[in-house]
Symmetry: C2
Subunit: 346 residues, 2 copies
């Protein structure tokens, strides 16, 4: 169960920053602050509020969600949402206290309302620093997501159109009690030359790029494989081998102490040497979000640490022809790395 | 194509509020401000920025997204995201101007950064007032979403487990170039007594509640049907008939000028008279979000107007036994309403 260990780590940070509590709010089911799930274990609740102090924790939920959420959370103190002046009543006990908020998520107008009554501190970088290092429980969930992802790459039917393949991927997720990490990118031929191609009803007989992943209990995997359906497609094979070679070398560089931007620079440089401009970043962290820290990017300031998890995904895109991207999920270990998606054939 | 008509309406509001421009920002692909799509037509772009002034409009996008987005938007002026000091460079032209933001979405820490250099005004209630009244183009998209939703309610296989049925629904969406509006709720027997039940691998032979919908080009349908798989299930039938009767009467009340909370009060009162506590709201607006204004709820202050679209969804939940909810999507017309989901058998 996610939340308890995370909250213990949070409390050390609250102590360091001399904050009395962290306040987390989800107003909508569409704009979810995953941080609330991260500390409480409660998924997908519109109008949910969590207050986590140094020695107390409390959830406020709509009455009709309480029965379900009690099964999901380690937090015992759950109250029904106040019917009137919700925000005011919930935060009453925090008046005069130093309260952390997730400034990367909390909407500006709620922030302004709260600021009039509470001493707010943006705690988002501390939250990021906690979330960037995965616990053993989180690593296990991402491995599970990677294993479910492997199942659909093992069962692709190349006779189907992009949308049908995408639907098959969704079905395998559902069968395995997982969700799609994101809408799969399934792109044949020239559509594969768009890094974020939209899935169409087309079939193809040349390249096929599939970027997809499962999310298991909120934790994401993210894998890209590119295939050629043509025999002796020498132009494709040349590009493919180049991308694969660069990817393998980049993965070898992943270990604690390495700068994220150094890995991106390496990939960018290798592709440039061969005459190709690399038009996106080398990778990104994965966890409760499909794109989170550490960015493996030109401008990234992160230094890799043990138990970070990120993707490595170089690509070459030949407009109007095809694209090749190869993406794996990499766990930074004590002295190197582990490819969590190595079971998925390249 | 969404965006142009919406922008024309926006400009009248900017004029009224004496604002020079509206600034919209999407940092992440997971926390999407649909308002950017609403005015520009561009879907799902991490790191996208739009500035819409009285007589100009401009988009900033990552280089590798530009080719795709040019096909989606009516906006001609598209620039590549500045590589350095992104926020500062994009907003340079707005210095000293009165700039509207969507304060219900913009994260607090971005707001604080911008506030140091721009004169910001929270424009979120004006945005809500625009989005709450659907254009003819938007109504057509929601009708299309409702028609796709009808397809899966016509093809249910009651021998399947909750997850399998949910996956079938996803497949029919994909076949019809639509997405799931949200993860379907498919709940047999006692699971149906939880209004937001989680889908399991269970089968059932009593009640089956399915709450699901398609989203077509971003516009959502949202329909709930509850079935009994048992013959002569008199306890179920009694509850079902009661919910259906209340729902039909509530729908009859939908027309311009009616207070949203009056409809909720009616439903709540009717259910109470029969001895049942109604534990959620009667309905909600649908559009680019699955839950948007107007709320058909106790505390709602909305008055229904022509071309609003909302759900009406009373329910009774007998803990440990079963639940019944019946939900349709209703367009407020000039002098009454139109049930957009009437083709889906109750």
């Amino acid at each position: 169960m996610i939340g308890k260990e995370q909250t213990e780590n949070l409390r050390k940070e609250l102590e360091k920053k001399k904050l009395d509590a962290l306040l987390l709010i989800n107003f909508s089911s569409e704009h979810i602050d995953n941080t609330l799930y991260y500390f409480t274990g409660i998924e997908w609740v519109e109008h949910s509020y969590a207050i986590i102090g140094k020695d107390f924790e409390k959830l406020y939920l709509p009455q009709f969600e309480i029965e379900r959420c009690e099964k999901e959370t380690w937090i015992k103190q759950i109250e029904e949402l106040p019917k009137q002046k919700t925000l005011e009543n919930i935060t009453k006990s925090l008046r005069g206290k130093k309260v952390g908020i997730n400034g990367e998520f909390l909407p500006a107008n709620t922030f302004e309302k709260l600021k009039a009554k509470l001493k707010l501190t943006d705690f988002s970088s501390a939250i990021k620093n906690l979330r960037i290092i995965k616990t053993q429980g989180e690593i296990a969930l991402i491995k599970k997501a990677a294993n479910i992802t492997a199942k659909f790459y093992q069962n692709l039917d190349f006779s189907k159109n992009e949308t049908q393949i995408s639907a098959d991927i969704g079905f395998i997720c559902a069968q395995n009690n997982a969700k799609l990490a994101f809408d799969p990118i399934v792109a044949y031929d020239s559509n594969s030359a768009l890094p974020h191609a939209k899935t169409t009803l087309n079939n193809g007989n040349g390249a096929l790029l599939i970027d997809s992943g499962a999310a298991y209990k909120g934790y994401h995997a993210d894998v890209t494989r590119t295939f050629s359906l043509k025999e002796n497609d020498t132009e494709f094979e040349k590009i493919y081998d180049l991308v694969l070679n660069v990817q393998e070398k980049a993965i070898e560089k992943v270990k604690p102490g390495v700068k994220a931007n150094a890995i991106d620079n390496f990939v960018r440089g290798e592709l440039k040497k061969k005459g190709y401009k690399f038009i996106h970043s080398t990778g990104h962290g994965i966890g409760l979000e499909i794109h989170e820290a550490p960015a493996i990017a030109e401008k990234s300031k992160e230094i890799l640490k043990e138990n970070m998890i990120c993707t490595i995904e170089p690509g070459i895109y030949l407009s109007g022809k095809f694209g090749v991207r190869i993406e794996d999920d990499i766990l930074v270990t004590k002295d190197g790395c582990e490819v969590l998606t190595k079971g998925i054939k390249k």
